[in-house]
Symmetry: C2
Subunit: 240 residues, 2 copies
């Protein structure tokens, strides 16, 4: 009996689609098997997580899962919930609203807790806008850095962009960042004004969606042919 | 007729497994549909690519694909092959030996060619050891950098590690790199000798395989309890 009590549950990290209704091309179907012993799922929005579970064919099992929101952050209650679940030998999972949990998305504090108590953490493959954009950019995939969101303040953001542009040319490191859709035009303008003329910019818009759109041009080229990316999901990559 | 001639083929970027025989948990089955109009596939090793195609259920279609090796690099012939394929309105694909094409793997020069001639580049989701390890580390997923392989020379490698360790503590940026399996013990020793005592190291070993093993500890902790990772597939992450 004591031996059984020592067996910890596992924490599965489950990627979600990037918004596509069709999971066939983005989520491996076999992930569904991982939910057999899962009792608690940590989510951003219940509705979005539930949609993925249904798409994975788990509709009949929805009642077995307790969904715990991470929307208010990983507070003590949320952390304790994971600890007690894993200590009881039950599995848990994290599903974020889009893409991979804990990457440009909440979840990493829960992963830390799992490691701290010695539970196994099992990451599943799935869509990541960062990786998809990097693959499709043709830029350096051997040296790259992701910076999340740049500053909301235009003058600090311009400073940041100049630093990133320097790293591209000095260290041959691809620079990647994201922006909230309604601020895209501002950020793109700052990129065109602050980067060197020869710097290449890849815009990856609405990845995995019907209207996915990925294009590469240098600063001069983009200035002559400026796309409308306002209010679209866009990820930015710069390289030389 | 002219209109038809102007339609370019598409370049699909197709992730491979990280070595697992079972693709169910790592590759979305729907990717198979993309091969309908594919005539040329750029590969590292034909055998490895063929295995994936069979696992995707495309055995009956193998004859329709011309496999072109990228093993000798993307020379002029290889580049011309892609150009003529896409210009003829036929689709092409890239499959690397493990994980995502063009990320710590060949393929990005072909992606550049596709962009240059105005063909669509379509990246597919799948396993990436970098992303899986980062998710499972619990480290900062909002700021991270991937460095590929560090130097083969021990003294330069130690220098590099000290620089990465500084970036962890000064910029809160997760540092990620890989190493060839037979050099793992050397690199791990250098990490333990060059990083600060409080620096956390995540080792992600044999990802997606039966014996997958992911653990986090600080330098002091690892020194007391040193695992044998020699000749295993390992990805290294450091953070504070």
């Amino acid at each position: 009996m004591k031996l059984f009590m020592n067996v910890k549950g596992r924490l599965f990290l489950v990627p979600n689609t990037l918004g596509s209704e069709d999971i066939g091309k983005s989520i491996p179907q076999g992930i569904a098997d991982s939910f057999e012993n899962v009792s608690v799922i940590f989510v951003e929005h219940e509705k979005v997580a539930r949609r993925l579970l249904i798409q994975l064919g788990l509709k009949a099992h929805l009642d077995q899962f307790e969904l715990v929101s991470m929307k208010q952050g990983i507070n003590k209650d949320v952390g304790n919930k994971l600890t007690s679940t894993l200590n009881q030998g039950k599995d848990a999972a994290i599903i974020s609203d889009a893409g991979c949990p804990a990457i440009a998305d909440p979840g990493n504090e829960l992963v830390q807790i799992a490691h701290r108590i010695g539970a196994r953490v099992i990451p599943h493959s799935g869509p990541s806008s960062i990786l998809l954009a990097l693959m499709a950019s043709g830029f350096n995939g051997q040296q790259f850095a992701f910076h999340g969101y740049l500053s909301k303040d235009s003058s600090s953001r311009k400073n940041q962009i100049r630093v990133l542009d320097k790293r591209v040319h000095q260290n041959s490191q691809t620079q990647i960042f994201i922006e909230t859709p309604y601020r895209n035009q501002h950020v793109f303008s700052d990129l065109l004004s602050e980067c060197q003329k020869k710097t290449k910019i890849c815009l990856a818009v609405n990845l995995t969606m019907e209207d996915e759109w990925i294009a590469v041009n240098d600063v001069e080229g983009w200035k002559k042919n400026r796309p409308d990316i306002q209010k679209k999901q866009c990820i930015y990559l710069i390289y030389k």
